[in-house]
Symmetry: C2
Subunit: 159 residues, 2 copies
Amino acid sequence: MKKHCKTFVLSTLSGVLLAASVGAFAQQAPKPETLIKWRQSAYSVLGWNSSRIKASVEGQYNKDEVIKAANTIAALANAGIGSLFAPGTEQGKGWHDTATKPELFKDGKRVGELAGDFTREANELAKVAATGDAAAVKTQYGKLSKTCKACHDDFKIKD
Amino acid sequence: MKKHCKTFVLSTLSGVLLAASVGAFAQQAPKPETLIKWRQSAYSVLGWNSSRIKASVEGQYNKDEVIKAANTIAALANAGIGSLFAPGTEQGKGWHDTATKPELFKDGKRVGELAGDFTREANELAKVAATGDAAAVKTQYGKLSKTCKACHDDFKIKD
């Protein structure tokens, strides 16, 4: 094989290897728009399940509905949603333009506190939901809702 | 109060009551596009968490990641996603046009079987994930993935 052929083969090979490693990297690090879609979806699922609990505490109480909804919220609170706010997702479009304020990406301490509050109250709501005590669920749902609002006030762009 | 004034007050009142009852109804029965958004979001969250487990079983195993992801999938499998396929949501747009085939709304028996398979394998995956046994997780993740594919084959419009 002539020298320039070897060079071509080697450079093609390294190109293939580079493509393969980029492929592997892509699997480990999804695109920013995918992360934004996932986080928008996670909050949408939280909204769905919050509305189910709200319907129960403000209307006809349905123990099974509340348990399913509270367990789903708790699972998402423990799922590591924070990873969906990875660097590179400060701006962009998932299902729609991100509603996250740029400040969220600059104040990890405050975000961590708010996330901790949310997770604690969500886990507690799942426990209370299991008892079927409607009044206790209403109180705990109120506590959880405050942690949602606190984070929205600081870091969510108003509709 | 003159008669036409009374009529005005009564008709205004009934208008307010009608609006209030429509409001209450809206809370109990979200709009079809909202239900479609919620179900598309739920499947997107399932996709996120499936990809986390896939990354672990095909690459560097991360026990905590797999536990979080498997618990989230199990919570959603038990959340009652079926309610998001309520009558009136056969067609329409959530985040995008629905990818659900019309057949899903006509074959409750088959859908119930597939949903049961999915929930059973998802609950089992959550149990296996807790052990941290990477090989067992890989096997169980394969079983779960088959239940996803079975339903997509029958009832999801191809991209």
